[in-house]
């Protein structure tokens, strides 16, 4: 089971699988995250044939934030079982998108912009993984520094 759903209390029991509170938190968070993604996309629309900057930015930012969040949820906010489902599964899961990433590449490739398609293909996972790694490491360092 994804670590992100676990919240702060370690493994949630099987009895929580269809917990309406958790599902509501996920739905509400997802709605907020998706709204944010939509608004960012309106503010920075991608021209056809151009590099999809807003999708890349959204995904990299979302991955940085989940790096921060999961360290906080696991090591700092140890009394908030809905933090993971609401903020992680919900908001950040709704904010970031894999489908738009895949279809962006497909559309660019099919329209003949193969170079930009490859660039987009590679830049997102590289940016995303660097972001989550550095954000988690930095948050951990700060959190441990503060509890010393």
């Amino acid at each position: 089971m994804s670590d992100v759903h676990q919240g702060a209390n370690g493994r949630q029991g099987r009895h929580l699988q269809h917990n309406p509170t958790v599902l509501t938190a996920v739905a509400a968070g997802g709605a907020i995250g998706a709204a944010g993604r939509y608004l960012v996309g309106l503010a920075w629309p991608a021209a056809p044939g151009a590099f999809p900057v807003s999708t890349l930015g959204i995904n990299v930012l979302g991955c940085a934030l989940i790096g921060v969040l999961m360290v906080l949820v696991r090591e700092v906010w140890t009394g908030h079982p809905l933090a993971g489902p609401f903020l992680g599964t919900g908001v950040l899961g709704g904010f970031t998108t894999f489908s738009t990433y895949a279809v962006d590449i497909q559309r660019l490739a099919v329209d003949g912009h193969v170079g930009i398609a490859f660039l987009s293909l590679a830049a997102t996972p590289v940016g995303a993984l660097l972001a989550v790694w550095m954000a988690a490491a930095t948050t951990r360092r700060i959190a441990r520094g503060m509890t010393r």
Binding site: M1, S2, D3, V4, H5, R14, Q17, H18, V22, L23, V26, A27, A28, G29, G30, A31, G33, A34, A35, R37, Y38, L39, G41, L42, N59, G62, C63, L65, I66, G67, M70, P85, G88, T89, G90, L92, G93, G94, F95, T96, T97, F98, S99, T100, Y101, A102, V103, I105, Q106, R107, V110, L121, T124, P125, A128, L129, A131, V132, W133, A136
Partner: protein, 127 residues
């Protein structure tokens, strides 16, 4: 930005996000391996659906309302890059580098194939 457009996105997302959560839990309860099959499933499925929608839209068969609700809202919330990258990081941290690299390559490969296949299907059906 029209309020109706935002409402359509939000409605689709409010369905997509819990569906991702439930799917992940259902898949992981059957295949509790290191590899995050749950996230993989929703990401590939969402890419397929968005691909179909995009292909159909290119053929003129989909309203903007449906694109907002199903595409931006539902598929955008059903799929996730944040959980995908966090789970990859966790695999590296727990000393499983090979499944981690596999997760990246296979998810992206399958997602891309799904988008391509979906677009072809969408265009064929709505042409």
């Amino acid at each position: 930005m029209r309020p109706l457009s935002l409402l359509l996105v939000v409605t689709g997302a409010a369905i997509g996000a819990p569906l991702r959560y439930l799917t992940d839990r259902a898949v992981q309860s059957r295949h509790d391996t290191v590899f995050p099959w749950g996230t993989f499933t929703v990401n590939v499925l969402g890419s397929l659906i968005l691909g179909i929608l995009t292909g159909a839209a290119a053929a003129g068969g989909v309203s903007s309302q449906v694109q907002l609700a199903v595409g931006t809202g539902f598929c955008g919330a059903l799929t996730t890059y944040s959980t995908f990258s966090y789970e990859t990081l966790r695999m590296f941290e727990k000393d499983h580098p090979r499944p981690a690299v596999c997760n990246v390559l296979v998810s992206i490969g399958a997602g891309l194939l799904a988008a391509l296949l979906g677009a072809a299907i969408g265009q064929k059906i709505w042409a």
